[in-house]
């Protein structure tokens, strides 16, 4: 871990976007997430790290209620977005997901054109009144997704025909087309090569200016490169949460230290 670059950046804002308190997740009888308390700040990249099966992806999926689609999954405790309980019975998960966008591990563009991939979200949420509005949203999203220059000449080509890295940036552009406030990323670079990974990481850093980004990653170098806050999960517990620099240079918990030095995981 000697090559680890630790980015020392000033955290821009300290406003809490999402706060979880005593969050528990059960899959049937398995207690997958135990008593997690975490505050995710606005305009910050927060990284979740930890060994496989530690619950970091499960917790991420709680933040936009994607776990609702799994029948046996049960979530307890409080998760608040801007002070509102997202598990309140009055909350419609569809509305929540428009606010909390998600990018998945494997690039999953719809088998439609690049244009339709981006336009789908705005269309179903009624964000564009005219074709011109929609065109503008598509262009803006693709520019923010740092893929506009590569696809502007072939907007009507299928999105599935792009390379893996391009597909993932397309998915990021699709996620930000609905103007979310939080962007959840579940190992967005694990299926990409180093060059595409670098592009996506650069993009994540740019996105920080507008959104609160939560990223799950297996790569500690990546967490160190892109995040300002890091949370270390182990066996369903949130072991340590703090400034990225502090977690990697001066971990408080022996388990964190063991993990980042490669002794467990």
């Amino acid at each position: 871990m000697n090559d680890m670059r630790i980015v020392e950046r000033k955290v821009d804002a300290n406003e809490v976007k999402i706060s979880a308190r005593t969050c528990q997740v059960y899959y049937g009888d398995t207690h997958a997430i135990k008593d997690v308390d975490v505050d995710i700040q606005d305009k910050t990249v927060t990284a979740f790290i930890g060994p496989s099966g530690c619950g970091k992806s499960t917790f991420l999926r709680c933040l936009n209620r994607m776990n609702d689609t799994i029948d046996i999954c049960r979530v307890e405790g409080d998760i608040h977005l801007d002070g509102e309980d997202i598990y309140d019975p009055k909350v419609d998960p569809v509305q929540l997901r428009a606010k909390v966008g998600m990018v998945f591990q494997k690039p999953n563009p719809f088998p439609k054109s690049i244009y339709d991939n981006i336009a789908y979200g705005p269309r179903i949420h009624g964000l564009a009144k005219t074709k011109a509005d929609l065109d503008e949203i598509v262009e803006k999203s693709l520019r923010r997704g740092a893929i506009w220059d590569e696809v502007k000449d072939r907007l009507h080509a299928p999105g599935t025909g792009l390379s893996g890295g391009q597909q993932q940036r397309l998915c990021i552009a699709r996620a930000i087309a609905t103007e979310p406030e939080v962007l959840l990323m579940d190992e967005p670079c694990s299926a990409l090569d180093p060059i595409a990974t670098a592009q996506v990481e650069e993009l994540i850093d740019e996105l920080r200016a507008r959104y609160s980004v939560v990223i799950v990653t297996h790569s500690m170098q990546q967490a160190a490169r892109v995040s300002q806050k890091t949370a270390f999960f182990h066996l369903g517990n949130l072991v340590e949460f703090g400034e990225t620099g502090q977690i990697f240079t001066n971990p408080q918990d022996p388990r964190t230290e063991s993990y980042i030095t490669g002794r467990i995981g």
Partner: protein
């Protein structure tokens, strides 16, 4: 097996022998692999052999039904016989039955024989009966009723030859076989030969077999598939109209929305079981529920369609669920991730991707229903039922009719070998339909298939 035994150490102390020499174990393994391949080829070849034999049998037996022997005769439509009052009143003309026309046709044929100077022992018009189909008189009568002005004139008609003459031209009837036949004598066959040479008797393409209706036991030469084809068509409309929406809706609900619990498990198991229920069980269910309880008309394509819908539903549901399952979950996640509702994700993304599979399943289900006979026997869609085309669309659904496979079954069990040929011909038509449907399924699948 023997693979587990360790390699023996070679005499010179090396662990493995030369690569250029196969050891006994490798030889055995290769031999068993070669044997297995041979069994596979043998199995495929056997299957192909039976397929070819079947096709050959169908085509060689069935092509005869697509040609038919006709007589061309100049019939003198005598006013004294057909319109005694001479006032061309259609009601009076209709009073003359086919018995009034039969002698005229026989007379015309006898005249043809005598005019051409064909030597024969037959001098009476009664003797011509053996050559002319019993339905010829009805054909002439229908034509006269449609055109009463023709009475008094001599009109050329092309009428059906009797099935014995037809069989003689198709090598089904020989002089030996007619020796004890009271319908026709060897001398008639000599006359037939002469008339063929004179061009009076001709074998031509049999459009009536494809478009016509079934005929009674004594007139195999007039029997056709057309009306039962319509019966099948109306049944398929019922099956498609009911089983596709019901099947797809049920599958989408079970696959995408239903919670996983004991009830849905029970439903799933039962759908799979229903697919294996013998079709005759559905037939008796249809008889009990639709005819005896609901008092729907007997022998109607509507009822047949309902029964076949019950039979096809499990097939469509299973195929649809399989193709919904085959859509990668990442597409659902992607749709939900941008804030689509469950229904939007299903209808905008999952269903279009599953469409080729659903269409294929539906068409295969329909093809299965098209070829189904047993349930139709129980609801009375069989036998010499429909001799007329349905009058309009509604009539097509509720008027008694048969269906293609039931018609074939009916012909196959009749005594006259001329019907046997009809049955094979019917199978050719049925197979053409099935192959067409399968080709449509393949084309649709190719067209709608999308890769991701």
């Amino acid at each position: 097996m023997t693979d587990a035994t360790a390699n023996p150490v070679q005499p010179d102390g090396r662990k493995h022998g030369s690569l250029l020499q196969q050891d006994a174990r490798i030889k055995r393994r290769n031999a068993s692999e070669a044997r297995f391949k041979f069994y596979g080829i043998l199995a495929v070849a056997t299957g192909l052999f039976f397929l070819v034999a079947l096709l050959w049998a169908i085509i060689s037996n069935g092509t005869g039904a697509f040609s038919q022997t006709y007589l061309t005769v100049q019939v003198e439509l005598l006013e004294s016989k057909l319109d005694k009052k001479g006032n061309r009143d259609i009601a009076d003309i209709k009073k003359v039955s086919t018995f009034g026309y039969t002698p005229l046709i026989q007379d015309a044929l006898l005249k043809e024989v005598q005019d051409r100077g064909i030597e024969t022992e037959f001098a009476k018009k009664k003797d011509m009966k053996a050559l002319i189909s019993a339905s010829a008189a009805a054909q002439v009568r229908d034509h006269v009723i449609a055109n009463p002005d023709l009475i008094g004139q001599t009109v050329e008609f092309r009428v059906l030859a009797s099935s014995r003459v037809d069989g003689y031209l198709k090598d089904r009837v020989s002089r030996e076989s007619v020796a004890r036949d009271k319908n026709i004598s060897p001398a008639h066959l000599d006359l037939t030969d002469a008339l063929v040479e004179a061009g009076v008797i001709k074998k031509i393409f049999n459009l009536d077999f494809i478009l016509g209706s079934d005929a009674s036991d004594t007139r195999p030469e007039a029997a056709g598939m057309g009306v039962s084809m319509l019966g099948s068509l109306f049944m398929m409309l019922v099956v498609l109209g009911l089983s596709l929406p019901i099947g797809v809706a049920a599958s989408i609900y079970l696959e995408e929305f239903a919670p996983q619990n004991r009830w849905t498990d029970l439903i799933e198991v039962n759908i799979s079981n229903l697919a294996a229920v013998p079709s005759i069980v559905f037939g008796i269910l249809g008889l009990a529920v639709f005819i005896q309880f609901a008092h729907l008309p007997q022998s109607a394509p509507l009822v047949g369609g309902l029964v076949l819908t019950l039979m096809t539903l499990p097939t469509i549901i299973i195929a649809t669920r399989a193709s919904l399952k085959a859509v990668p979950p990442s597409i659902r996640d992607a749709a939900l991730g941008v804030g689509a509702s469950k229904m939007q994700s299903v209808f905008h993304h999952v269903l279009p991707l599953a469409a080729p599979g659903i269409l294929t399943g539906t068409i295969i289900g329909l093809a299965q229903a098209l070829g189904e006979t047993a349930p139709l026997l129980l609801i009375g869609m069989v036998g010499f039922i429909a001799s007329n085309y349905p009058e309009g669309v509604l009539d097509g659904f509720v008027a008694p009719n048969s269906a293609m496979p039931a018609q074939i079954y009916e012909w196959a069990k009749r005594a006259d070998p001329a019907f046997y040929e009809r049955a094979w011909g019917g199978i050719i038509i049925l197979l053409v339909f099935l192959i067409t449907m399968n080709i449509i399924a393949i084309i649709l699948r190719r067209r709608f298939e999308r890769r991701w």
